[in-house]
């Protein structure tokens, strides 16, 4: 573990940035054990990243509905894999939660990564990725049915991509 001025920081050459999302009535909210914010998890050399994220989410929050990697980027010395994890409303419990606003995407130049990427832009892309899967992938379409389809319809479908 490494010390920063304000405490421990997740380190390691490969990290997961998890966005725990749930459907609150007619809108999506962001939650998680770190509050309504990205949740960083260190990824080791052995386990598959999806397996690590699924296991940690299951242990800390409860069984997820969906776990999907939606983008990747370099951040400092690490490669960060972004995940959207969908949970059932009943798992939110005492965790802080907040509605997810819309954001412009972090667009790259033809041969260069975006100079800065805010987590809201990563999440916006992640939800566009889920919107794409909800139309393209029968498993996701089956899990995110009914009101999810209506909410995701407002997102422009977009497949997996690198953000920088």
């Amino acid at each position: 573990m490494t010390r920063l001025a304000d405490g421990f920081e997740v380190e390691g050459p490969v990290q997961a940035e998890v966005f725990v999302v749930w459907l609150n009535g007619d809108h999506l909210e962001l939650t998680g054990p770190c509050g309504a914010a990205p949740w960083l998890i260190e990824l080791g050399e052995v386990e598959h990243p999806v397996a690590v994220v699924e296991r940690i989410v299951r242990d800390v929050v409860g069984p997820p509905v969906l776990v999907h990697s939606t983008s990747w980027r370099r951040d400092g010395a690490a490669v960060v894999l972004s995940f959207v994890v969908v949970i059932a409303p009943g798992l939110v419990g005492e965790m802080d939660t907040a509605p997810i606003g819309r954001s412009e995407l972090a667009r790259s130049a033809a041969t260069e990564a975006p100079p800065e990427i805010a987590y809201q832009q990563v999440l916006e892309h992640g939800l566009r990725h889920m919107a794409w899967l909800a139309t393209d992938d029968p498993v996701v379409r089956g899990e995110l049915s009914g009101p999810w389809q209506a909410v995701l319809a407002s997102y422009v479908p977009e497949p997996f991509r690198a953000l920088g």
Partner: protein, 66 residues
């Protein structure tokens, strides 16, 4: 209750623990492993701990010139 001997350790995710050395070490190791998949040692924890009653550094003040 006196704060003497109490230590504080924070995580960048916002989680924080305050207690004695024997209280904070297992709490931080559990948080790191369970929530962030990060192994650690007692030495790691203590290297990041700050005394609760540590004096707050005074902000730098500009001295008048002339």
């Amino acid at each position: 209750m006196s704060d003497d001997g109490l230590l504080r350790v924070g995580c960048v995710c916002g989680w924080e623990v305050v207690g004695t050395e024997d209280e904070i070490v297992p709490a931080v190791l559990d948080h790191g492993q369970r929530v962030h998949n990060m192994p650690g040692t007692r030495e790691d924890v203590l290297a990041n701990a700050k005394p609760v009653n540590a004096p707050t550094p005074e902000p730098a003040r500009a001295e008048p010139e002339g």
